[in-house]
């Protein structure tokens, strides 16, 4: 997560961003080239849709391009970029949810055993059925390898919230993937509303599956 340099350009990420803000016409392109695969993976796994991912990533990178001079310098450039990309994806998902005529991706409801040679594809499809906030947390922590604290910074929420989103997301995946057989996958899939656990000092009544997130 610390600023990286590259054989093609010895400058680290922070230097590239500052150079871009100072008018270097190549610096931002180099920054994107350096991190594009990782950012793409985040966008693709968060949106669950190739075209949405491409649109969200383009919006995000253009925003970062324009706002580079406002980079605070209090986090790694990659964290900053991931934050912009994830928020762009979540913005799109929320707008999509507000337009019920555009359904969320559906996958075959039949149980997919873990020995399936296409497990990765099945898990990808199941992931797309989770509430967006849970999916984003799982993508960052379980797929991209972010520590919980870093994921919390990227998503702008408390660490406990990330733990809760990941735990609840894994439980839902367990049902969708057939690892918890006494639950109805359709019921889990239809729980479109997320509910985060409150912070350690928060309201325990927030722990329900029917509530609506309001504090993050």
């Amino acid at each position: 997560m610390v600023g990286e340099s590259d054989a093609r350009d010895p400058r680290d990420d922070g230097a590239l961003l500052l150079a871009h803000a100072a008018g270097d016409g190549q610096a931002f392109a180099e920054l994107v080239r350096r991190h594009r695969d990782r950012l793409w993976a985040v966008a693709l796994r968060t949106t669950g849709d190739r075209e949405e991912a491409a649109d969200a990533l383009q919006d995000a990178l253009l925003s970062a391009f324009r706002a580079a001079d406002r980079f605070r310098g209090d986090s790694a450039v990659t964290t900053w970029l991931h934050r912009i990309v994830v928020n762009s994806c979540l913005d799109r998902l929320r707008r999509r949810q507000a337009r019920p005529t555009v359904p969320l991706p559906e996958v075959d409801r039949t149980v997919a055993p873990s020995t399936d040679p296409d497990t990765a594809l099945v898990v990808h499809a199941a992931l797309a059925q989770l509430p967006a906030d849970q999916r984003a947390a799982l993508v960052l922590v379980d797929l991209q390898g972010y520590p919980v604290a870093d994921a919390a910074r990227v998503l702008g929420v408390a660490e406990g919230t990330i733990k809760s989103r990941c735990a609840r997301g894994r439980a839902r995946l367990a049902v969708l993937l057939g690892h918890l057989r006494d639950h109805d996958p359709a019921e889990v899939r239809n729980r479109a509303v997320d509910a985060d656990v409150p912070s350690p000092t928060g309201n325990p009544s927030g722990i329900t599956t029917a509530g609506k997130e309001g504090s993050t």
Partner: protein, 298 residues
């Protein structure tokens, strides 16, 4: 597992999200004493291990950016105008930059200050936290008027971002349909969709009629009443859509706390209005917009 066991709560417990909370002990007690919870706990722990293994398979799968997406992004970035170069740019701890402010912005700030001074009687203050010195307000219910507007507390940067916007806290619960009404009327709407008549754009050339009380702001949106945070939010939206903010309403969107922002001149098109509903983390990191809804109007 049976229907008496709360799967989310049990998942929180297993995932460590309840650590240090009073509920941790309560769930531990249930797991230890209630047979249904005991079975559910064992089943979910086992399933959790399978899910982690599944996710590890997906994580190990390479996802290089496709060539067509690379080309598309390269083209989009190449077409983007260079950002204006700021002289003596540096970033201070806490994110305050020391770049020289463009001359036009200094003029705007002076203009805002002058407008604040001349608004005078006939207005009451929403307080520095809600307005940041850029606007004014009155008590909707009582229709009273009293003191002069409060000067900016967020600095000229914060003041200039919302300088031309009317600020309201209507308490309305907007939907896409009522936001369309908002776009036509340029005033906040009631939950039933009828436009309120007690808020007008606070443009520099036209003293505003005030409209809201700080207490009307949903609690989750309180951080966005801070001038700097609000300015960061507006700036992020203007960066994405262009134009200027003409109306801010601390309200709700489909039940959730939301700041409603009406932009004029969006996408660089004179007269093009754009309405955006954003959540409490809008402006975080300088670029997040936390959007719930966005649509052009007209």
């Amino acid at each position: 597992m049976n229907g008496d066991v709360d799967l989310d709560r049990l998942a929180d417990y297993i995932g460590g999200a309840l650590d240090g909370t009073p509920d941790e002990a309560r769930v531990a007690h249930l797991v230890a004493t209630d047979p249904a919870w005991t079975r559910a706990h064992a089943a979910l722990v086992a399933a959790d291990a399978f899910v982690r293994a599944d996710l590890a398979q997906l994580a190990g799968r390479s996802e290089p950016m496709p060539d067509d997406v690379v080309a598309r992004l390269d083209a989009a970035l190449a077409a983007e105008p260079r950002p204006p170069v700021k002289a003596h740019l540096s970033v201070l701890p806490g994110g305050l930059e020391t770049a020289a402010r463009p001359r036009w912005r200094r003029r705007t700030v002076v203009g805002v200050a002058a407008a604040v001074l001349v608004l005078g009687l006939g207005t009451v203050s929403l307080g520095p936290h809600l307005l940041g010195g850029a606007g004014d307000a009155s008590d909707n219910a009582a229709g009273t008027s009293a003191t002069a507007p409060t000067p900016a507390t967020g600095g000229p940067e914060a003041a200039s971002d919302a300088a031309s916007a009317a600020v309201n806290a209507s308490g309305s619960d907007y939907s896409p349909e009522t936001l369309a009404v908002l776009g036509r009327s340029s005033t906040p709407v009631t939950p039933s969709g009828a436009a309120k008549s007690d808020a007008r754009p606070n443009t520099l050339g036209a003293p505003a009629q005030p409209s809201a009380r700080p207490t009307d702001v949903p609690e989750a949106l309180r951080p966005l009443t801070e001038p700097i945070a609000r300015a960061a939010c507006i700036k992020a939206l203007v960066t994405q859509y262009g134009g200027t903010a003409s109306l801010l309403d601390y309200a709700r969107y489909e039940g959730s706390p939301a700041l409603i922002v009406l932009l004029d001149g969006a996408r660089g098109v004179t007269g093009q209005k754009w309405v955006v509903a954003v959540g409490p983390t809008c402006g975080a990191g300088g670029v997040a917009t936390d959007q719930r809804y966005s649509a052009p109007l007209g």
